[in-house]
């Protein structure tokens, strides 16, 4: 049951109607059933794995809380982390490791075939295992108390709006909301609807439209050269942002319909003035998870510059590996880590108050360019594809007009596509720009009724005109 399907909307509507009709005490049960129905709509087997992770982390949490001796508590944490990593390794990294080992052995002259397991990656596995690890570590650190009700805990682990691609929730944030029984909040629910609409706009109108162009290049970059590659890279930058933040908006919006606030996952990341700031605005729930559970425990920036740099590299290496079982992801993570190390030396530590106007613009453009080029590593199917991309990016640049013209033509990005994409892109840029200053949805909600409805109707009309025929059946981050 994909988020951008009519079935998901009907599913949410049915659960919503029942949720606010039934007595408070039954709501948690309803959400739990809904979560597993949602998961089973993908594949019933996935629910077995999620149940296992849920039960083990639940038990470990209680054990840690009840045990006073530190070494036992520590052993329990290590045990759980090992179990989680083993699960992740088996489903996500086994084939990758096997291929790497076979490659290394083959490089030394002995031909070896890698052992490849025919397994599909269970949906949401990277997200809920990290959520469970976070919970166990929080209980260990006593920043949150262990949950003693398996029902509540299972809802926390499987809450359907955020199950497949996050945001990765913290027990301290989500569990109290699940356990409280809020009354229906009209403002929150309508905000949720608007957030969902904005998310769908980003996903369906922008990301899915762009994917028609980027898909061709990603599938076979060797068919393209010059500006077509660069244009596809820029488009992919927008696509992945709209795809993932669109998903997150739908997730957060859905959760709000049930009175639950999820972690904000994106805050206009392409308006960042540095890579560091970008990571404070992009996939925030993962960035903060990595900061709190990896970077800071490693020593963070408390043990000198050399250790800080090493910690940064380790954190971003893990971030890269988390995204996918491929060396291109690892390299992508490392490049971002390195960029932040460089930034730590050249950028002022405190926010530069003068960075407005021209300088602000230059920095924002630079960060966007940097991210765009590094997304090439992220999206490439192999090192060779990425290498081809970088080495053929400037083909034909000596005649700039032909370079640009051929790029648009080769990609099939004609005047019509441009004409219909431009308003959507401008809308996205304006929304994100003003969102850096205030909550745009709230601002619109506070406007006069006539103005508000003109905005709503224009928005719906534009969505109706711009929706592509074929919407993508998946979200990019579902594969992680």
């Amino acid at each position: 049951m994909i988020f951008n399907s009519i079935y998901y909307l009907l599913f949410v509507l049915v659960v919503f109607c029942i949720y606010w009709k039934i007595p408070h005490r039954l709501r948690c049960g309803l959400i739990l059933i809904s979560n597993y129905v949602y998961l089973a709509s993908w594949d019933l087997r996935y629910s077995v794995l999620l149940s296992f992770v849920t039960i083990v982390s639940f038990g470990i949490g209680i054990y840690i809380e009840k045990t006073t001796e530190k070494r036992y508590r520590k052993s329990a944490v290590i045990f759980f982390i090992c179990v989680s990593i083993a699960i992740l390794f088996f489903f996500k990294y086994f084939n990758f490791t096997s291929r790497t080992i076979a490659y290394l052995i083959s490089s030394s002259g002995r031909k070896t075939e890698p052992l490849i397991l025919d397994i599909t990656l269970p949906i949401g596995i990277s997200f809920y295992t990290f959520q469970a690890i976070g919970y166990v570590l929080d209980v260990f650190r006593e920043t949150t108390s262990a949950e003693h009700n398996l029902g509540y805990y299972a809802v926390f682990m499987s809450f359907f709006p955020q199950l497949t691609s996050g945001p990765i929730a913290r027990a301290g944030d989500l569990l109290p909301q699940i356990k409280s029984y809020p009354e229906f909040d009209y403002k929150k629910a309508t905000y949720g609807l608007k957030q969902m609409a904005w998310g769908y706009f980003k996903k369906i109108v922008i990301a899915d439209t762009i994917s028609q162009f980027t898909g061709k290049v990603l599938n076979d970059p060797s068919r393209f050269h010059g500006f077509a590659l660069l244009l596809a890279a820029f488009q992919y930058s927008i696509q992945i942002y709209c795809d993932f933040s669109g998903y997150s908006d739908v997730a957060c919006g859905t959760a709000k319909l049930f009175g639950i606030e999820l972690t904000v996952n994106f805050r206009s990341p392409y308006y960042s003035q540095s890579i560091r700031e970008f990571w404070n605005r992009w996939h925030i729930s993962l960035s903060t998870w990595l900061r709190d559970y990896i970077y800071i425990p490693l020593g963070g920036n408390r043990k000198g510059n050399v250790r800080r740099n090493i910690n940064l590299l380790i954190t971003f290496l893990i971030s890269g590996l988390w995204h996918g079982a491929s060396w291109t992801y690892v390299l992508w993570g490392l490049v971002h880590g390195l960029a932040q190390i460089v930034e730590n030396y050249i950028l002022p530590k405190k926010k530069d108050k003068s960075s407005r106007g021209g300088l602000w613009f230059l920095r924002v453009v630079f960060v966007f360019f940097f991210c765009t080029l590094t997304w090439v590593l992220f999206s490439a199917h192999s090192f060779n594809d990425a290498l081809y991309f970088f080495t053929h990016l400037a083909d034909g640049i000596s005649s700039p007009v032909t370079y640009l013209h051929d790029g648009f033509t080769d990609l099939g990005f004609g005047k019509q596509a441009f004409a219909f994409m431009l308003p959507s892109m401008l809308l996205l840029m304006l929304f994100d720009y003003f969102n850096t200053k205030e909550d745009v949805i709230n601002r619109i909600s506070g406007m006069r009724t006539s103005v508000r409805w003109i905005i709503y109707i224009s928005f719906i009309l534009w969505m109706l005109i711009s929706v592509p025929v074929r919407t993508s059946s998946e979200f990019i981050y579902f594969q992680f």
Binding site: W20, F184, Y186, A189, T190, L193, K415, Q416, A419, F420, Y456, I457, I460, L461, L464, I465, S466, V467, P468, V469
Partner: protein, 321 residues
């Protein structure tokens, strides 16, 4: 809660109303931007169907008919007026069959020349279907209810393209080549086949991706629908037949004659109507194909038509005998 549901209702109604407003804008202000497109030949084909009073021969199928039938030759040989309804295969079998239904009368012969028999009865390419029916509301009846949702989803693209053509003055789409309304003759055959549009048969059929000629599968849904159509046609006092389509056969083929004997045999068993062709008679060399694996050159068209005439005569003599 009531207030919230009221809001959802207002938004839902707004979306529906705005959708209809878009359709009205398209109908009244944007207009038929595909008026001379290849697909618009359907209007002429229907006009011909409507204009023939007595018994006629109706050819139903995909572009293999449009690009592979000499209807005039067929008409002279059979002695009945011919209407060739062949259009783009992306519309799906059911769409093609539905076009003819209201015009089938007593004494008509309806020949089905599908090149696939495992469809699910839906429109394969809804965007293409919009181009085909365009703003001609009387053609919208061809769309079946089960296609409504996909057609609604495809409407924005149709609207966008039409609007863009209207604004830029690039509409009406007469390409001047084979793929325009003007390329068809009065029977519904494509008669404009410029040499520059012709493929290199060796290159085309040598490439495994484009040369995906294979034995068609036969699906239950398609068989059921064709048998229902046969019942409908018979009830109107007309006759339904199934005939072969041109099959590219040569050194790159992945099948042989026995595969198509089996296929014909399976069709005979499944369908209630007669299958008048031996499909292997429609095996044509690569040089007889024009620009795809189903479109014939003028020479190929002549051979295919000649074969169909023989098949029809043989069927008739069997009937009389």
């Amino acid at each position: 809660m009531k207030r919230f549901f009221r809001k959802i209702l207002i938004i839902t109604v707004s979306v529906i109303v705005l959708f209809f407003i878009l359709m009205l804008i398209n109908y009244h202000f944007v207009g038929n931007q595909y008026k001379f497109n290849y697909q618009a030949s359907l209007l002429d084909k229907i006009e011909r169907l409507e204009s023939i009073e007595g018994p006629k021969l109706i050819l139903i199928g995909h572009s293999n008919l449009a690009f592979g039938m000499d209807s005039e030759m067929l008409e002279k040989a059979i002695g009945m007026p011919v209407v060739n309804l062949g259009l783009h295969g992306g519309l799906g079998n059911a769409f093609h069959e539905e076009i003819a239904k209201p015009y089938i009368r007593k004494g008509d012969i309806v020949i089905i020349c599908h090149s696939f028999f495992a469809d699910d009865g839906s429109i394969e390419d809804p965007s293409l279907a919009w181009i085909t029916v365009d703003n001609n509301i009387k053609l919208w009846r061809i769309i079946s209810i089960k296609d409504y949702w996909n057609m609604i989803k495809a409407y924005p693209k149709y609207f966008r393209d039409s609007l863009y053509m209207k604004i830029t003055g690039t509409g009406n789409q007469d390409s001047g080549g084979s793929y325009s309304r003007n390329a068809f003759n009065k029977y519904g055959d494509v008669v404009v086949k410029p040499e520059e549009g012709r493929m290199d048969p060796e290159v085309f059929f040598g490439d495994t991706e484009s040369n995906n000629v294979e034995v068609p599968r036969i699906g239950d849904t398609c068989v059921r629908r064709l048998n229902d159509l046969n019942e409908f046609i018979t009830a109107r006092g007309a006759t339904m037949l199934v005939a072969a389509y041109p099959i590219a056969y040569g050194e790159y083929s992945s099948f042989d004659r026995s595969d198509f004997y089996r296929f014909k045999n399976d069709l005979d068993i499944s369908l209630d109507c007669d299958v008048i062709s031996d499909y292997t008679d429609y095996f044509f060399g690569y040089d007889l194909f024009y620009d795809t694996k189903l479109h014939l050159t003028a020479e190929g068209t002549y051979k295919r038509t000649k074969q169909l005439i023989e098949d029809l005569e043989s069927w008739k003599s069997q009937l009389q005998g």
